[in-house]
Symmetry: C2
Subunit: 425 residues, 2 copies
């Protein structure tokens, strides 16, 4: 995409009254716009990233057999009364409610609604198991909406629900989902620590959070720094008397972290009151065993920025970057030379795109100085910067620089696409 | 996709209390689920169609230079007060409102919000024109929510807004947008009649609706049946004394129709109160000239079903069909023969998918009769049905049938993919 065709512009100044890095860098670079505390709009660059994260999540959910749906936001009171949650817990504390004839809530989560749907399609054991997910906007009252996309009143979430005939089958799927979540974080360039947490009133045995170490996080975890798989617990359930890793005896470490996902057992909490039963081989009716697997898609975008940035801007991991490279021709004011440079840049732009490499092409000419263009490239954070100038073209080359490195490298124009692809592997 | 892997099942009975075809067929075939009047969830088959329509809309909007964004649903009262719409018109009549600290509305439309965003990025003439769109859920109070996806309280909409320095530039873009809309309807298999309508209080000159003739529609139009381009007006503005086409003198026809899209001039209605100004070459500030272009994405899905169906079910146009073909092996109970038939079907399934043809494969075996499977295929409505059986395999062939034709045709297995592709062109 040509940079002048994006209607947003970068801003030199940090927004006021923001502390967390994502709430500063994402608006400055033109990815998001703050409508009010905890409510953001996604601008063209931001939507590119949000879609890339969504697509990774979608691929991994499809990979474990998830079927995608798109449920409504508006939820009738009657459904929530069946599980007793309209006037207690999440329905009381965080659900926005409106009245239009009947009382209606804005979905903060979708256990009730989806259980109510699937029960129409379940008769006997043959109809199970299955897993259903959606990527959809959730709404939650937040007295303390802050930290940019980390905690919002309106946010994009992937919620998957699984349905089983037995605890054994549920546990097998739970482990598959846990692995899929691991792949999601890896592809997003993040290291997530699988952390034991309270089951939220359900089976305590099966509740795990995916925590990303960050000072911007609101959670606190205790984990084994030698091997997080040995031990990690959320402060909520942590026994302060424990000081060493139960496996390797390394001293546990206490850190702040961002809860980016959680997975847990629901047992029959929803299937019983909502009458989602299957008929067993013995002819008896049994409530379906359920699991729930959530991941904050817009929160993940924020977490990536919190972890992947420096003092100049964002450093996007390659799979979620809005563009793989940022192409900048250096123009000097010498019309004849500038024409050659711009022609070369145009050719590179077309060629890379043909080869499936996404390019942001800064063709804004002399309206901005080279310094301003480099600052924009660092702020926006594409993994590779490509510069062409009279100097590089004299060697039939372009200069490339990785966003997370200092060194630059001259690459012959004919090898450019291949070099960029290799760098990104 | 294998049919048994979709958690939904078709229903033999029509839902109660529904009159419009889309509200009957879409739930029966497992595309959507009615949560309450005017509120629907999209199940796996329905989401496939919704995504295909969205992708067509997205391609055509990108084709005229539209930049995609994703704005928030929650909108602060303050913004709407600036245009005077919080307590009047759409803000008073159809906007859902909640209070969470400040008063907030659920976006029924996004003129205020987007104008407030873009003004931060407009300085002078060079920054214009541009066009921005989103595909997003809208919320509107509907006392008469009915007719399935045709009129909802919660619905998916594409709204595009264009920003210009002059009326001339706006008019040029308006014509481009009108053509893009024409292509959208054509690709969706629909014939839309471009109809003059009231400008909703703005410039009367530029307001057009895209009307689809259907008894399920809530609008009434008067048009020239010989050539709709000659004359078509919404009843709202129609002069009942006019009886003949002003171009060819054919008697005008009165029909019920579905308003599937509208485009209109906004002038400076939003840019002035929200201070979206640009600096002209003379150094003076001028309000940006705006246009607005809406299309109901979920309504379009309903309109397609209203127009494209028969008494057996839906007849999806090829570009929006959830699957291009529905593959059904006929099993008889003879184990040896059935194994051969199923193996052949499996091979066709793999082969077609490799060639980029989307297949719904009915591998449900003898749990359902052949008649039930054919009825499901007709209800779900994929454009091509493929049947393999002992009889067809004896001739190294499969039987294909187009959903909108009665005749069947034997096609050699080796020519199957090519024949299906040709049929769909």
């Amino acid at each position: 995409m040509k940079q002048s065709q994006i209607f947003t512009k970068t801003q030199r100044q940090n927004p006021k009254d923001e502390e967390s890095v994502n709430a500063i860098l994402l608006p400055r670079a033109g990815f998001i716009y703050k409508e009010m505390a905890g409510v953001f709009s996604f601008l063209p660059l931001g939507l590119l990233v949000l879609n890339k994260i969504s697509d990774i999540v979608r691929e991994e959910m499809n990979g474990i057999g998830g079927q995608e749906v798109f449920l409504s936001v508006l939820q009738p009171k009657g459904l929530w009364e069946k599980t007793g949650r309209w006037d207690t817990g999440i329905g009381k504390d965080v659900m926005y409610k409106i009245k239009d004839g009947i009382e209606v809530g804005l979905g903060p989560t979708h256990e009730e609604m989806l259980t109510d749907i699937v029960k129409n399609y379940i008769e006997n054991e043959d109809d199970l198991p299955f897993a259903i997910y959606q990527i959809q906007t959730k709404f939650r009252k937040e007295a303390r909406a802050k930290s940019g996309l980390l905690r919002g009143r309106e946010f994009l979430m992937k919620d998957l629900y699984s349905f089983h005939v037995s605890e054994t089958d549920f546990k097998q799927f739970y482990e598959k989902a846990k692995k899929a979540y691991g792949r999601i974080f890896e592809r997003c360039g993040l290291k997530a620590i699988i952390t034991e947490a309270s089951g939220g009133g359900f089976s305590k045995e099966f509740s795990h959070e995916f925590q990303i170490i960050s000072e911007a996080g609101e959670d606190t975890i205790y984990f084994c720094p030698k091997e997080a798989e040995h031990f990690s617990q959320n402060e909520e359930i942590f026994d302060q008397k424990t000081t060493k890793c139960p496996v390797c005896k390394t001293a546990l470490q206490k850190v702040k972290s961002i809860e980016a996902a959680n997975i847990f057992s629901l047992g029959v909490k929803y299937s019983e009151p909502l009458a989602a039963f299957f008929r067993g081989k013995d002819g008896q009716k049994y409530p379906v065993i359920m699991g729930c697997y959530g991941i904050g898609v817009s929160r993940l975008m924020a977490a990536i920025v919190e972890v992947c940035h420096d003092d100049k801007g964002i450093v996007w991991p390659k799979e979620v970057a809005p563009f793989l490279c940022h192409l900048i021709p250096i123009v000097s004011g010498d019309a004849a030379q500038d024409k050659k440079t711009v022609n070369a840049a145009e050719k590179i732009y077309q060629d890379l795109q043909k080869k499936g490499i996404e390019v942001l092409y800064d063709e804004r000419g002399r309206k901005f100085s080279t310094g301003e263009k480099f600052a924009d490239a660092d702020l926006i954070g594409a993994p590779t910067r490509i510069v062409v100038s009279q100097k590089t073209l004299a060697k039939s080359s372009a200069e490339i620089k990785q966003r997370n490195e200092e060194k630059t490298k001259l690459v012959p124009l004919k090898d450019l696409a291949l070099t960029i692809k290799n760098n990104l592997q």
